[in-house]
Structures are given as C-alpha cells and as structure tokens.
Symmetry: D5
C-alpha cells in the first residue's frame, strides 16, 4: 500500500544550531533505515520551507503509524496522511505501453 | 525540475455517463502522451475522491504550465503546484548507500 | 484495515421528491450489499445534516476506493478518508480485560 | 445516545519521555474505566498523528461531558463532538437482514 | 436535552417573491408546531442575515434529527448542531439564588 | 437588546489545579452578579469543551462590552458576539398562540 | 448604536448590463433614503471588488436588520455585522482635546 | 487616501495589570498624536474583544505604514489594511443632496 | 503608489472555445492599454492555474479601482489588493549600491 | 525562472530592540547579497505588517531553496512560494509594442 504524507515541521525558532544539527542527524539516520527497509520510498523537500512531501509503502496501517511515529522530529510535525491507489490512467498506460519510466 | 501537483476535479454531478466517459478517455489519452514525453512521472488517485496527487518533471515553468493546461479536465480542476527539491536526507542516503530502490 | 469515512452529501435543493426517493433507494441498496460483504461496517447519520460518519473495512486501498465510488450519490459527495489503527489503549484493554463489549 | 468524538492531542514537544509515559498511563487507565463502564465504545488512533476518533455512548449530555473532561490529557486536547443517530440505511438493513456483523 | 442549532439559509437569489413567501409561510407553520410541541424553544434571527441561532429540546437525538429535517427550508440550510449542558456557574447560581429570571 | 456570545477559553495546560480553581471561582462569582443584574441571561456549556454559548441582554453596546470585559477569564477567551433579534416566526407565533413556553 | 457592516456582493457574471444597471439604481436609491434617515452613515467601496465597508447607526437591532434587508441586492450579499463602541482612546482624546476632526 | 484597518491585539494573558496599563497609556498617547495629525480618523472598539476597526487617512502608503508601525502594541497586533474609495452611491448622494451628515 | 493584485479567474467550465477566445482577446486588449498607460506594470501567470499576480501603479485609489473594474473578466474574478511600499532593505540597498538591476 | 514569495515574519513580541536591530541588519545584509547576485529581484513591504511580497529569480529550484533558507529570519517566517511564468498578455504586448516600461 502507498501513502502520500505531508510533514510540516515547526521547530522553535530559538533552538541553538547544535540542537538543530543533532535532531537533523537523528532524523536523517532514522530516515535512511526506513528507506533501506523499503518503507520510505521518496522524500521531497518543499522549496523554501521546513516541510516535505513523502511517499511511503506499508504492509499495514499499523506499520505506517509506527514508522511515522519513530521519526525524532515527529513531536514537532503536523502530519497529513493520504491513502493512494494506482490511477486508472496509469493502469491503462501500462497495458498499452508497459512500465512507466523509472523515477530517479 | 520536479513538482507535486494536487488536482481536485469537480465535474457537475448531472453529467450523463457518456460525457464522463468521453472526457475520461480524452484525459487518459493526453496523460499517456505526457507520460511518454517524460513529463508526467507518477499519477496517484486519492482514495475515495475524484482527485489525485501527481509528480511532474519540467524543463521550464512554461512547459509545466502548458502541460497542465492541456488536460481536457483542466477547466474543472482546482490545481495546487508545489515546487520540490531533493531532500537533504535523500542526498545523504545516496552518498552512503547508492540509489534508492526503484519506485514501481 | 479500517477507515473512518466522512461523507457530506450536497444534493441540489431543487430536486423533486421522486428523484430524491429514487437515489435514496439505490444508495441504500448498494449500502446493504456492502454491509453484507463485510465492507461497510457501520454507518451513522450526523444529526440534522445530510452527512454521515461511516466505518469501513477493506482488504486493500483499491477495494475501498471501488466501494466508495460505487455509491450512487458519490458524484454529489465530499468525502474524507481517515486511515485508522487500533488505539494502544484498546490493545492494552484487551490484554487486561478481554474483548470490548460488542457495538450494537 | 451515541457520539463521534475527534480528539487532537497537542502535547508540548519539549516534554521528557517520563512525563509522556506518566500521562499516557493515566490516560489509558481512565480510558479503561470508561470502556468497562460501557461509555467509551471504540477508540481508533488516526494513522501518523497524536489524534483519534472515538465512539461514545452516554445516557445524558452531562454524563458525556463529565467523561470527556475526566481524561488526564483533556487540557491539551482539541475536541469535536458530533451527535449521531442510526442511519436510515442501517435501520432498513436490520429489517431486511437482521443485525449487522459484530464490530471487533 | 438541549442543543444550539445554527442555521444558515442559502436560497437562490433568483427566486420570485411568491416562492419566497410560500416557503416562508410553510417554514413558519412547521416552526409553530415545533414550538407548541416544546421542541423548538427559542429562535433568534441573526441581524442582517438569512440565518438564525435556535435552541432545541429533544428527548432523543433521533427526535432532534427528525424535527430539523422536517423544516421546509432544510434542503437549503447549512446546519451546525452543538450539544449543550447546564453550565456549572448556572448550577451554582441556582443553589445560591434560585431560578434564573425567565427568558422572555 | 439580545446577543449570542460564544466564548472559547484557552487556559494554559500547565496551570496547577489551585490556579484553575481560583479563577473558576472568580469567574462564577462575576457571572452570578451579571445574572442577578439581568445581563447574563443564559449560559450553556458546550459538551466536551472549555467553551460556552451564552445569551446576554444589554441596554447598550457599551454595557455589553463592559460586562464581557469584566470576566476574570476574558484575557484567555476568544469571543464572538452575534447581535440577535426576535425571529419573524416567533413574533407570528406570539400573535397566534401567546407567549412561548418558559425556558428553564 | 453603531455597527460596521461588510457586504460582499456576488452577482451572477452572466447578468446583462441592463439588469446590473437597474439593480444598481435601485440599490443607490434605497441607500440614499437610508443616508437621509441618518441610518447609513458612511459607505466605502473596497478597491477592486464588488464589496464595501459601511458604518450604520440604529436605534435598535430590529431597525438595523430591517434596513439591511431592505437593500435590493441583499439576496446576493454575504453580510457581516460587527457591533462597535467608542474606543477608550477616542473618549480620552475628546476629554483632552475636544471633538475629533469631522470625517468628510 | 482612506483605509480601513482592522487590528486584533493578542497580548499575553499573563501580563500583570501594571504592564497592561503602561502599554495602554503609551498606545493612547500615540493614537492621540495621530488623531491630531489628521491621520487616524476614527477608532472603534469591537464589542467584547481586544480588537478594533479604524479609519485612516494617509498622503502616501509609506506614511500609513510608518504610522501603523509606530503604535506601541504593533508587535502584538494582527493587522489587515483595506484600501477604500468613495462609494458611487455616496458620490451620487452628494450630487443630489449635498454633504452627508457629520459623523460624530 | 504600488499594489500587488492577485486575480483568480473562475470562468464556467461549460463556456465554448469561441467565448473563451473572445473574452481573452478583450482582456488582453484592455490589459495592453493599461500597460501603455503605465498602470499595469507587470502581469505574471501562476503556473497551472487561471490566476495571476500583477503589479499595479496608481496615482490614486480611485484610479486603481477604475482600472481593475474595467477588465472584461472582472465579474468572474476574485481579487485581492495588497498595498505595497518600498522595503527598507531595498532603500538601504539603493543608498549603498545604486539602482536594482532592471526587471525584464 | 521567476517566483513570487510571500514571507510573513512572526518575531516574538518580547524581543528587545537590540535583538530586533541585529537580526534586521543581518537580514538586510544577506538580502543585499542576493540582490547583487541577481536572485532577489524585488522586495515589497506589505503596508502595516511585518510581511512582504518578493520576486525571485533562480536557475534551479535548489538555488531558490538555498537562498530562501539563508535568510537570518527564515526560522520565524511562514513562506509561500508561487511559480510564475510570463502572462500571455505580456507576451502579446511585447510583440505588439516592444518591452514593457522598466520597473523602478
């Protein structure tokens, strides 16, 4: 199953650079584990903002929740989860033309 | 350049099945051209709604606008375009582990 | 998998009683099929409004989408799908006390 | 009487793990009392968020208010209470087919 | 049980005076029945708007829904139902001073 | 003149029980004075929330403002004041049937 | 008593020039009566929009409602009424310096 | 040029009475200077709230900005500036009947 | 004086191509007159939408209103006018470095 | 490529004048670098508010993000980025009349 997850991160403006760096490192490390596990499929930074769109796979809703909650910045995030399915137009495309070009 | 585009389609409830089918076919046909051209990269249906999240590539903003406007359902869409960049965590991942798994 | 689905139905005020009755009958008939199939688990009318909260089970997101889209009033609905999981407090309850009382 | 209650919990991001754990335990304990009393009927965690949808029974509005206010996290919650009734389609279902399948 | 109900009426601007008068008469007639039945307790027009705040009593949520839905203008209304209880300050007042002055 | 006033009270979650009790007592005491003065006519608690709907009479807008501002919790309130008049349907009712039943 | 009234006028884009002119004339004629009666005190057009801010005096809320409802464009307006009082700073000004300069 | 300015003041609830009094005095003193300068033309308190509607004249947008920014409470204000012009109906009124009655 | 004007154009989806073309031509022709008059300074299309950001100069608010209202698509536009001034940082820049690079 | 960027700056009201001055100086200095680099093309202060509209050029979305994030006030900003293209009416203008007048 696939999900679009929008995360808006609201860290206090007063945090010192060191704290930002530490939590950033921890966030990335956990993200890499989730990519390697095939759960966090893509992570896009929204231009100009501390926010992102991300694409997640999950074998269950429980797994998705656990993975999102495991992010170190989770307590400072506003999260919106949108369940997705293949669009009929993509399905028809594959029947007509084969797989879509790989998404780098 | 990459963009997240959310499209909410508001077709009049009164349209007969035939009109819906015709515009649906035209929409898919144009979508397939845009996929084949490498512009429409992924198209996800939002569960339960006549709406989608889609990922677009574009060599220029002009090209993106022309492509979005060429969709037959465009006059009935509410469109939100969000410019995206690679997330620093993805960049770091690639340095550490190589390419992300392909997104089917 | 379980989902909360809020449906707000916006039928044109001008529709004659007969059309309302016909679409209401068709809506109920389809609803009953979905209940019998174990997909539509509960359907609550929101007091005072043509709107409801409903609880759905689905083996896949595709199935949920297909079921929601099959409702005759779907073209006049604003639909919000919220993925749910068991709450940790319910899980702990079951460990301590057994199953929750049946929900009539 | 039945009510849908949506609770969004906004705990300060800075709280130490111990305080989170303590209030979580107290919240669960009170929730279990309310389940055992037949008042809190179902409690669903919204995927990815510190928020839930819950179904409550109450013999009176006073009782419902007292129960919601008794939750230890209540001062940090945004609460929306929606009064529900049986949906006409469910009523008709029961006449035609008998009780709905039990909701685990 | 008591409820605050806000009703915003959105009648098409094009309706001729006669149709407005007819539906207004029917709306008032039904309202009077509901006042005489002790269900619609107070009805306040919001200054400058085709909208009102109203106070309803109901022996059950089903009864409230039936009464609200029976209003001839219901298909053109946006309705918000808010469940109310006696405020602790009013309760304390009655213990200290007796009944509140009648509300004309 | 009559007004509907919705008050949403946002007290800091961290306040100790004693401070909550003290400001609650002061709020009630001031409320009782305003009831006895015939200004605060009804005060309804919104179920599940630290919020209320209240009905106020005032001989002038200045008086209403002074009374609302005199509440000890006023600095933590979001207040919405809606001017009301008798609804034409209530006026007609009184001509046809006499006074409405008293509102306890 | 004084009120700020914001009126947003949503006339159908399709109306022919003649209909716009007729309703505009009727609207102005009624407005002039209300100015001459000392009720509509000032009327400001919001730049770029078919909308206005206006200042109204009224001896009662009933009078204000009747006056606003008497405007020919009222069925196509979204109206917001805000009750106003003299600001303490203006009152203090008058004590210190006398009347404010006339508002042309 | 004329502008409607809505100011919503959000002072921390915890401020002691003395600090509120000091900033209130400073705010009024600056307001009086701006009235005497013919810039702040009218200042209305919104009933029940720490908020106001005010009418400003300015020879330039720069002047308006400087004046608004000079208010001691400006850092705690949410400000909305709406440019205004004479309404065509007022212009026509003046041609037909002369000046509007002075606004006290 | 300078203003940012955001225009969202909501043309009915059903309009035939010819009508769209005609109003588009008229809109452009009027726009060109306003550019040549030095009033409409820049006009940017928002990518993917029938909407734009535009920069306007005006000697008076009346002139700005007249110019905006003269656009053939004005009855189908939602318009937001934001008054602008030179930013202090730009002023300081000019003192330090001279004029900003021309904006093509 | 061109972008409209709206920045709303929310600095804590309690900051002392010195801290405001320091961050203001740093913000301007960075802004000047970005103007000199041809990236920040125009910066307009929104009248009455600590907010601005700004026009940015960027060779890539990455560059735009880096530039916006480099602003010292960025952690206290709410930022909205809107991708822009030349409006067809401007393009047609240039064909007919040549370049638009320079924007001072």
């Amino acid at each position: 199953m696939r999900f679009m997850v929008q995360m808006v991160v609201r860290l206090p403006g007063e945090w010192p650079a060191q704290r930002l760096e530490e939590i950033g490192k921890a966030e990335n490390a956990r993200g890499h584990e989730l990519i390697n596990a095939g759960k966090l499929r893509r992570l896009f930074r929204i231009v100009g903002r501390r926010a992102n769109f991300s694409i997640w796979d999950a074998a269950s809703l429980e797994e998705l929740h656990e993975n999102l909650s495991s992010l170190p910045m989770h307590p400072w995030m506003d999260i919106t989860v949108t369940p997705l399915i293949e669009h009929p137009s993509e399905i028809e495309f594959k029947e007509l033309y084969g797989a879509l070009p790989a998404l780098d």
